[in-house]
Symmetry: C2
Subunit: 124 residues, 2 copies
């Protein structure tokens, strides 16, 4: 049975929180086994748990604030615009991509593709 | 050669205009041959020009206003949040999906997937 929109919404909300303020384990717990991550789109997809751990491990120690801006759901797919603000000394770097995710029946993430480019990364 | 972000931006901007106020031919001119449309995601993909003509033909006669709200580009992919307001008598119906598109080297659309559900359609 396809996941409900409400379950997908919960997973996305937890994902933004976990990426911003959680641990790698918090993020990985939201992914299904065998999930793929292509971030940004056009780079080689990460297809192993080790490569996902490496990816999210980079941002784990950073001081970040996450905010879900827009979320659309259709079937087993979500597309959402969110903001991730990283504190770097007295500066803040904001990245606001649109992520596209698919989900399994338990609303675990089976694939993530992040659509953003350098111009979406703003230092202030 | 991959299309430039600027060319993709032009196609997306023209798409939102064409869907809102243009003709079916205006919209179809932005699509590559063999392009597919899945709107919303989870429904059967349209894979022929005739089925794309049928799809966009439904909204061609409507009085609509389109607005591009957020556009993210990565490689040959764009994800964008846009609003389409349709005037129905003294009421307005707003639909604001996130569309995900891929493009060929000439920045023509090779696939479109629209992520939205009934809750994204607001009557006012």
């Amino acid at each position: 049975m396809a996941p409900s929109a409400e379950d997908i919404r919960k997973t996305v909300t937890r994902y933004v929180e976990a990426v911003a303020t959680g641990t790698v384990d918090d993020v990985l717990a939201l992914y299904a086994e065998g999930a793929t991550v292509e971030d940004p789109v056009g780079t080689e997809a990460r297809t192993t748990e080790a490569s996902l751990r490496e990816f999210y491990g980079i941002i784990e120690p950073l001081t970040q604030t996450g905010e879900l801006l827009t979320l659309k759901i259709a079937g087993n797919t979500a597309a959402f615009h969110f903001s991730l603000v990283t504190e770097l000394g007295d500066k803040k770097v904001e990245l606001a991509p649109i992520d596209v995710m698919t989900f399994d029946d338990d609303a675990k993430i089976t694939s993530m593709k992040a659509v953003w480019s350098q111009e979406d990364m703003i230092t202030r």
